[in-house]
Amino acid sequence: MIRVQAEAFDPGRELSRFAAGRSDIGAVASFTGLVRDSHRGERILAMTLEHYPGMTERELERIEAEARQRWPLDDSLVIHRYGRMLPGEPIVLVATASAHRAAALDACAFLMDWLKTKAPFWKCEETPSGEHWVEARESDDRAAARW
């Protein structure tokens, strides 16, 4: 399932719901990305995520479908926020469920790597010296290319 929302969420509570009441799942992997209070030595006061409504959901659904084709997943979940958020707040949660450990862990890493290079989100940091758009990292392209 894909959720793109402005509202804050609690990854722990989402994970408790995910896979609740199912006894056919042997493994659940998750990744949570959070706003950090500093970046390259500069203090981060807040972070605003812009996105491309419509294309965001479409890309995330495509990425999720790709994961479910590559690995035997029983379930998967991607929640991504947009708008303004403060240090410590979760930005993204990816969770995967499978009968098998490697499938859950690999699919979770894959979903994050592809999301990082394909989902149309852009981070703008508020720092004491002003607002800066975050630059994409080459390491993210390399991480996505390994799959």
């Binding site: 294309m55 999301l115 989902a119 989100f121």
Partner: protein, 83 residues
């Protein structure tokens, strides 16, 4: 055709979106980038850097060689930084 700009490209063009009637000779994404660069010099400057300006045609990632025939919405944006 509706052209949309995201993140810092909005500051380069001074607009979030614009509705344009394109000349018939604009056939590909690359053609459109050149055409828009004439309207917005600071967009041209950004687009001259390799891989700095990305494109989506009707909300699907598109290469410079992608054709525009039938497209309703084309978006330009820097490399994504979500997650």
């Amino acid at each position: 055709m509706r052209i949309r700009y995201f993140a810092w490209l909005k500051q380069r063009t001074g607009c979030v979106e614009e509705e344009l009637d394109l000349p018939a000779e604009i056939e590909t994404v690359a053609d459109l980038v050149t055409y828009l660069g004439e309207r917005h010099p600071r967009f041209a400057e950004a687009a001259s850097g390799r891989g700095v300006v990305r494109c989506a045609v009707d909300q699907t990632h598109a290469e410079p060689t992608a054709r525009l025939a039938g497209a309703r919405e084309v978006a330009f944006f820097p490399p994504v930084t979500g997650g």
